[in-house]
């Protein structure tokens, strides 16, 4: 699996490169700004791009905008955005095109290298990896209006796990229920959110989008 990294801090860029290589991923390019990222993704056509939100020259949300631009240039390019902070606003912008292959994680998550590389692989495979903190803040403030109001508490738990990017098997393990029960819950979620049975992965993304979009 080939990865492009955009991270301006040398230590982190270097650390990420070594960690991903140790887990058997191949680093196609490691750049330190948004412009180079665009060039790298068009030239290398990687399986996934890992992008820091804060990049030069503005050190604001340059990386986020570069990631969105990269996805416009290379449609369907899986992008994992790393940030010191997670904002629901940014999560929504990333997911807005509804095609999946999006990750949005706190930089802290790289501390757990195996979970982090799992997330990278999930995103590369077209899934989502939303940071648990985005989910936690959502759940803490969700007054349950709109379509989500119809979901049972258990279904919401399953949806939250889905948003973090877990497979049915992983969700089953997490919530200590059978995989069959998870499948039943996801089917109910899709039905209640009025998501037509089509490509399963895409429905998962749409469900997450409904979750984040409130």
């Amino acid at each position: 699996m080939r990865v492009v990294i955009a991270e301006d801090l040398f230590l982190l860029r270097d650390g990420l490169t070594r960690m991903l290589e140790a887990h058997g991923l191949q680093i196609a390019a490691a750049v330190d700004n948004g412009t180079d990222l665009l060039a790298a993704v068009t030239a290398e056509k990687p399986d996934v791009a890992i992008v820091d939100v804060r990049l030069p020259p503005t050190f604001t949300d340059e990386g986020l905008r570069a990631a969105l631009a990269a996805r416009r240039k290379v449609p369907g390019l899986p992008v994992l955005v790393l940030s010191q902070y997670v904002e629901q606003l940014y999560a929504r912008e990333l997911l807005a095109d509804g095609t999946g292959g999006i990750g949005y994680l706190l930089k802290d998550r790289v501390l757990d290298s195996s979970q982090f590389t799992d997330a990278v692989r999930r995103v590369a495979a077209g899934g989502t990896a939303m940071d648990p903190e985005v989910i936690a803040r959502l759940l803490a403030h969700n007054s349950g209006d709109g379509a989500l109001a119809a979901l049972s508490p258990r279904e919401r738990q399953v949806l939250a796990q889905m948003a973090e990017g877990r497979s049915n098997a992983a969700i089953a393990q997490r919530l200590v229920i059978t995989e069959r029960a998870v499948a039943k819950h996801t089917a109910a979620i899709f039905l209640k959110l009025d998501l037509q049975p089509s490509d399963d992965d895409n429905r998962r993304v749409l469900a997450v989008l409904a979750f984040l979009g409130r």
């Binding site: 604001t60 949300d61 010191q84 902070y85 904002e87 629901q88 606003l89 940014y90 929504r92 706190l106 930089k107 802290d108 501390l111 757990d112 803040r137 403030h141 969700n142 007054s143 209006d145 409130r214």
Partner: protein, 457 residues
């Protein structure tokens, strides 16, 4: 707070052709209001008399002693101590109330000048001790505050000038009308009802009618103007003098500067404490755990691994705490995207339906942006804590050199800035930018809080 309309209908200088009736009614209204202002003059004269009462009584008492001192003891000499005592008693018990009443009358005059004469007059008074919104002052505190203010002297001066001649301007519209009508009546009857204007030759009926028509035309033209003139006269004495204006400004600046420094220092202390108790302590613990793991590495690898996991946990928590801390100092979205988007991000975190609209074309200066952001943050926290609302509207705009943010909720209302320390705190922090906060919250709602900060875009 700032929605003052500048010109009420009565003072409109030029009525359009064919709108004679509106001009007539404007002049009639102006005459009536002028008479009302004359009523205030009477009250003012009475107050000045009451203010002078102790001096008059004391003067009379002393006068009696001096004029009768060498004639021997008459009964009126016995009367003089009574007068002196009366002077003392009125001075002690009546004068404070009179002073308060003078302030009240001046405040009323200012309001009427605005509403009736179309002349806005700024408040010249120093703020009461303890800030604009404060607990009720005791009578004594209020009096001390009143007396220390040079504007009190100007108020008294205005009452005197007004009583001595200023009222003529206010009474003139009604006077012109009555005199004109009397002349017309006189012309009709064939002999004058009152003495004709001295400038007119003779008192023939024709002359009287001409004079009456002239006077009433003059009245029609001049009545609102005369009233406006009265307002200007009042403003020259009741408005803040240049000195007073500067003094007010200096007092305001000193107050807000002190508040800003206090807030800044408190914030620094909070950050220091958070770092000390949070991230710093966790890093120390992490170092110790790593050290312990180092010792265990050869003898008991399983225990060492457990300690390493603990250290990693500690580092994650330290990071989380640093993140929260930074969010409280300068929120990343605000830095990245500016006020409008940051407010939108705040709205997303709220367990309510929030409608955010923004008409900002560019970003205000960073300190203003930050102050506005934290003010909105606090207001939204208030809404979700106290208002029992289901929907919030946030409206951000910039016009006429003023950043305006309105936060409206459909909650139960009854928010009182005098009681809530939150609103008070926001107001204090906004004051550093000459910003203001206006609360409109009738019981039963809805509540609208408007923030205004002067700034250029």
């Amino acid at each position: 707070m700032s929605d003052r309309t500048m010109t009420p209908g009565a003072a409109g200088p030029r009525a359009p052709r064919g709108a004679r009736w509106s001009r007539l009614s404007a002049s009639l209204i102006a005459s009536g209001r002028g008479l009302g202002l004359c009523g205030l003059t009477l009250a003012g004269a009475g107050l000045m008399l009451a203010l002078a009462m102790p001096v008059i009584l004391a003067g009379a008492g002393i006068g009696i002693i001096f004029s009768h001192g060498h004639h021997g003891a008459g009964w009126d000499v016995l009367f003089s101590p009574v007068l002196l005592l009366a002077a003392l008693v009125t001075g002690r018990f009546l004068t404070p109330s009179v002073l308060l009443a003078i302030r009240g009358l001046a405040v009323l005059t200012r309001r009427l000048c605005m509403e009736w004469c179309g002349v806005p007059i700024a408040d010249p008074y120093r703020p009461p001790p303890g800030g604009a919104i404060s607990q009720r002052l005791s009578f004594r505190q209020r009096l001390r505050w009143l007396l220390a203010d040079p504007a009190a002297l100007r108020d008294a001066l205005w009452l005197t000038v007004n009583a001595c001649g200023g009222w003529v301007l206010a009474a003139a519209p009604a006077g012109l009308l009555v005199y004109g009508l009397l002349n017309l009546v006189g012309g009709n009857r064939g002999h004058p009802v009152v003495a004709p204007p001295p400038a007119l030759p003779g008192d023939e009926p024709l002359m009287l009618i001409v004079a009456g028509i002239a006077l009433i035309s003059l009245w029609l033209w001049a009545a609102p103007r005369l009233l406006r003139g009265y307002g200007m006269l009042a403003r020259s004495m009741l408005g803040p003098s240049g000195r007073a204006e500067l003094a007010l400004r200096v007092a305001h600046l000193a107050q807000t500067r002190a508040d800003t420094i206090d807030t800044g220092a408190a914030e620094m202390r909070r950050i220091e404490r958070d770092l000390h108790d949070g991230a710093q302590a966790r890093l120390v613990a992490m170092g110790m755990t790593l050290d312990a793991a180092d010792h265990l590495l050869d003898g008991n690898p399983a225990a060492a691994r457990a300690l390493l996991a603990e250290a990693r946990e500690s580092s994650a928590r330290a990071l989380a705490e640093l993140r929260d801390l930074v969010r409280g100092i300068h929120p990343p979205v605000l830095a990245d995207r500016g006020l409008a988007e940051a407010v939108r991000a705040l709205a997303l975190d709220l367990p309510l339906r929030v409608d955010v609209s923004s008409e900002l074309t560019s970003r205000p200066p960073a300190p203003v942006e930050s102050a506005a952001y934290f003010a909105v943050n606090e207001l939204l926290a208030n809404v979700s804590k106290h208002a029992d609302a289901s929907q919030v509207w946030i409206d951000t705009r910039h016009d006429a050199g003023m950043l305006r943010i309105g936060v409206t909720d459909d909650g139960r209302g009854g928010a009182d800035p005098a009681r809530g320390t939150g609103l008070r705190g926001i107001e204090r922090r906004l004051a550093a930018f000459d910003g203001v906060l206006a609360v409109n919250s009738p019981p039963g709602g809805p509540t609208t809080v408007t923030i205004e900060i002067p700034c250029a875009l």
